[in-house]
Symmetry: C2
Subunit: 167 residues, 2 copies
DNA sequence: CCTTATTTGTTCAAGTTTCAAGGATGGGCC
DNA sequence: GGCCCATCCTTGAAACTTGAACAAATAAGG
């Protein structure tokens, strides 16, 4: 028996190595940048801002907790804490679900909407400045395709998922 | 005087919007994925793992704290905590700097190197599986260029930086 | 020298995220 | 109904991150 990894793993080529490093650096810097920008201008980190965005696009500006967690790609636990915080800020409010007594809706408040409306321009500008303004239209297109592919590959397999949705 | 934002901001086009969403989703899922993979196989999150990697590539496997922070794109504060944790694991050791009595070196221990060597294959496989195996060679190339550009744009301007290096 | 400014790394407090556990409801099945 | 198990969401503790404040040491100017 040989349980130890017998074969040499397929290491990254030099170019892949460089690409991967560049990706890690860029994504780290970008997330930091946006977190700071939003913390300063909106009083919340990027993940929280994103939650408000997702809510703002939902019908009646409300979503079930699980649905919101899935759309935002975060765990339910994390969402629970996050909503608690946003609730304290008055930007989100919880509402019981009539059909399912286990359920909770997260609802974007008017106040939350205002914060969003106020900080959106700055956020868009930051994103534009960091990414789109620097890329050619071919690159922009390419980036979209690539990220789409990567995201799909990591998406918890739907239907019969062996994961209780995202672990 | 008109301090309020007078002009309609340049919103993202629909395609840019989609691209940005795809990016956020992909990067979120990817970072989560790697964090879990490494937490499971190496007992540390991705950032910490990256610190070991950077150290392993430095001459004599050691770097000044600030230098390490810069290469890893994290704050000194965060690094301080991280090294404390890694030190507790016996994977990194601190050493005083002879030239500059304020200075500290973070040194990768043999034990740290072993952990790295052991977990590297799994990590590479995860990265490959999530990204490179899914992309065409054109896309791989494109991704590298794009991320390079984005990273450069966010890099704290060197020389005369008005930032105390990353705030 | 002597004073002032900068750099280096740490620490504290507050905030966030993760993980494991748990309470409650819903649904299927006999 | 009664039982079992899945789903919905929350909780608490531990780990991690952040930003500001800080002490020590060095660099820069006069």
């Amino acid at each position: 028996m040989n349980t130890a990894p017998a074969e040499e793993p397929r290491w990254l080529t030099d170019e892949e190595q460089r690409t991967w490093r560049a990706y890690v650096h860029a994504s780290t810097l970008l997330e930091d940048h946006l977190d700071r920008q939003l913390q300063r201008d909106a009083g919340m980190p990027h993940v929280y801002y994103h939650l408000l965005v997702v809510l703002s696009e939902a019908p009646r500006r409300r979503l079930r907790m699980t649905e919101l967690a899935m759309r935002a790609k975060i765990t339910r636990s994390r969402l629970s804490h996050a909503v608690a915080r946003l609730e304290k800020n008055g930007w989100v409010r919880r509402e019981d679900c009539a059909d399912d007594k286990r359920g909770q809706f997260a609802v974007l408040t008017d106040q939350g909407y205002d914060v969003l409306a106020q900080s959106a321009p700055g956020h868009v500008q930051a994103v534009r400045q960091a990414i789109f303004d620097r890329l050619s239209s071919e690159q922009r297109e390419s980036l979209g395709e690539i990220m789409q592919i990567v995201a799909e590959g990591l998406q918890p397999k739907e239907a019969g998922a062996d994961l209780p949705w995202l672990r």
